[in-house]
């Protein structure tokens, strides 16, 4: 509507603050971070030296770093899948013509604003060995006897994190899916119903294909958010037991700000960035395009 030639000052004014903020506080740090990943930078050292790919070699020679990568994919991947499926199911149920949709939606969405720190505290209580409601429930149904040390079993602890992540993200996916569902013209489904398609057929041939892209985008957003999330592993599980919940975000944060090894942390962060770029590229290429 406006042309740059006619309103050059306004154009600059509109973009300058955001570019300054994002450029100064995100782009510069990321570029600088990549640069640091080739140095041995550390506040504990007076001199910073260029070390080439030493940090990366150090990382990839460390079996624990591979475990961290595995944990990250496992926890973030499963959480994304669960929250997407659950969010979709809740949305489908809410969109099935029942009343009080607004009320249910609002009730579920409250979960989305519960602060992570609260979830960290709360999950510690829910999954407490002795008095946690989860174990009490499992005991009362006879699934387990005695105690189940959710936080001390390397096989169980990731699930505590996964439950927290999925729980917190379901409302977001639900709201997006519900909005997309409500955006599908009624006539399309009515036509299919007249054509003789039952609920499952309509779901499979009409609803899901129409929802596919928006769901995939929501899932990607959630996956990226899970990658960033650090409160639960940092406060609740501290990366344990036996490193089972040590994820990339925690690893990078600890390398930088408890070990003060900026070079190594930057290398881990760079690996993370590359991973995201490659993943988003593949995702875009093989999942989104098809249905677009």
């Amino acid at each position: 509507m406006f042309s740059i030639r006619r309103h050059p000052v306004f154009f600059v004014v509109l973009f300058a603050p955001a570019l300054l903020l994002v450029g100064g506080l995100m782009l510069f740090p990321i570029v600088n971070g990549i640069r640091l990943s080739f140095t041995n930078a550390s506040p504990l050292r007076a001199e910073t030296r260029f070390v080439g790919v030493e940090n990366f070699i150090y990382l990839f020679e460390d079996p624990r770093f591979w475990e961290v990568l595995g944990n990250t994919v496992y926890i973030c991947g499963l959480s994304t899948i669960f929250c997407t499926i659950l969010g979709l199911v809740v949305a489908l149920l809410l969109d099935s013509g029942i009343r009080f949709v607004g009320f249910f939606r609002a009730a579920v969405f409250q979960v989305w604003v519960v602060p992570w720190i609260v979830i960290a505290i709360l999950w510690g209580w829910l999954f407490n060995d002795e008095w946690g409601i989860v174990n009490q429930f499992l005991r009362s149904t006879g699934i387990i006897e005695g105690q189940m040390a959710w936080m001390f079993e390397p096989k169980l602890a990731p699930w505590v994190v996964i439950f927290a992540y999925s729980w917190r993200a379901v409302p977001f996916v639900m709201v997006i899916a519900l909005a997309a569902l409500q955006g599908i013209p009624k006539e399309v489904n009515e036509a299919a119903e007249i054509d003789g398609a039952g609920y499952l057929n309509r779901l499979r041939h009409i609803t899901l294909p129409l929802l596919q892209n928006i769901l995939l985008v929501a899932a990607l957003l959630e996956a990226v958010r899970f990658l960033q999330e650090v409160t639960i592993p940092l406060v609740l599980t501290q990366g344990g037991p036996i490193g089972a919940t040590n994820v990339l975000s925690l690893f990078t944060y600890k390398a930088a700000f408890t070990e003060w090894d900026f070079g190594l942390a930057s290398a881990a962060g760079t690996v993370w960035l590359l991973f995201v770029i490659v993943f988003a590229g593949v995702y875009n290429r093989f999942l989104l395009r098809k249905s677009a």
């Binding site: 042309s3 030639r5 006619r6 309103h7």
Partner: protein, 357 residues
């Protein structure tokens, strides 16, 4: 003096040129309508005159001075939009006052002008209302009022009536025309509705695919359309057009089925031409004097007149018959042609003048 001129206006979106060099002269105090089908560039041209779009080449002049580099604010124009474009968060009074406030008009003066405009448009009782509380016609009047509080040099209308129902549209037509006469400002009016253009404008500019096809008074366009496009665009029901050829002498028109018709005038001989006849210039004629015979396919009674669609050897033909015409579907009838009022277009669709060698 507030004449409006465009000189060789070009507009490109990327590599696509949508206006191919528009030259237009609009006199002071003139009411000009820009018509054409959607996508012809008429709105773009108006927006270029308004300064909302930048042109890729050429010049816009208002009152003899180039305004190409001026923002709308400095062109002293007013514009009425199709969707009314009222400020939803301001009441009617504030909507009307906004433009004056933007020009730092003193408070007292704003009040006087707003109240005068509201008076003129019968909006005085609604000044405190929000746009959402108004009817379509009232909103339209607020939109007009917003334009006229300022007494600008040029009024621009971008399809202002297309969101109204048919009855209101007719009312507003006269109202806009009356306002134009009261204000004596130059007005440019964009519409895709040729009836609006015919009834309101002093002059009509027909645009097609980014070019001006014809400029003229309404009846000039009606009587002497410059191209087949104008011929079919102006006038309702639209002109009957037949493709065929002229004989060597130029006095007869032949169609591919073999039928022919004698013309009232002499044209230069052409292999491929289009013959146009307005439904008004045809008459159902049961007598032997009829020029063409055909079978009635459809009869439409519109109340004031009857449209009779006849299948003839030349092709389907629409005839405007009197209101109480007895024509019945299936009847064989004759059609009489007013030979003086035939239109002939050459292969490229341009109007041919009679008597050419």
């Amino acid at each position: 003096m507030a004449n409006v001129q465009t000189r060789n206006i070009k507009k490109k979106y990327g590599s696509v040129e949508v206006l191919h060099g528009i030259d237009l002269e609009i006199e002071d105090k003139e009411f000009v309508a820009l018509v054409g089908p959607s996508g012809c560039g008429k709105s773009t041209l108006l927006r270029i005159i308004a300064g909302l779009e930048e042109h890729s080449g050429g010049d816009v002049l208002i009152g003899g001075e180039t305004v190409s580099d001026l923002t709308p604010k400095d062109r002293d124009i007013a514009m009425v939009f199709q969707s009314y474009a009222l400020y939803p968060h301001k009441n009617v009074y504030e909507n009307l006052a906004f433009t004056l406030r933007m020009r730092n008009t003193p408070k007292g003066e704003i009040d006087t002008k707003v109240r005068a405009a509201a008076e003129a448009l019968n909006l005085t009782d609604y000044l405190d209302r929000a746009p959402a509380q108004l009817s379509g016609g009232q909103r339209q009047r607020v939109a007009m009022g917003r334009a006229l509080v300022r007494k600008p040099k040029v009024f621009l209308f971008d399809e202002p009536l297309s969101n109204l129902d048919a009855k209101l549209r007719v009312e507003m037509r006269t109202e806009i025309r009356r306002l134009h006469q009261d204000l004596n400002a130059t007005s440019i009016y964009v519409t895709h509705d040729q009836v609006e253009a015919m009834t309101m404008a002093d002059r009509i500019v027909v645009l097609h695919d980014g070019d001006i096809i014809q400029v003229g008074k309404p009846m000039e366009l009606y009587d002497a359309p410059a191209t087949t496009f104008v011929a079919s665009f102006i006038g309702s029901p639209q002109m009957n057009l037949f493709e065929g050829n002229l004989d060597a002498a130029g006095g007869h028109f032949h169609v591919s089925t073999g039928s022919s018709i004698r013309l009232g005038k002499q044209y230069r001989s052409e292999a491929s031409v289009t013959l146009g006849i307005r439904p008004d210039d045809l008459e159902l004629d049961a007598s032997d004097a009829a020029d063409i015979q055909g079978k009635i396919r459809v009869v439409e009674h519109t109340g004031g007149e009857t449209l009779v669609f006849v299948d003839t050897p030349f092709g389907p033909l629409c005839v405007r018959a009197p209101a109480r015409s007895q024509a019945r579907v299936g009847d064989i009838t004759g059609v009489k042609i007013d030979r003086e009022r035939l239109h002939m277009f050459d292969a490229s669709g341009l109007r041919m003048s009679a008597g050419g060698a």
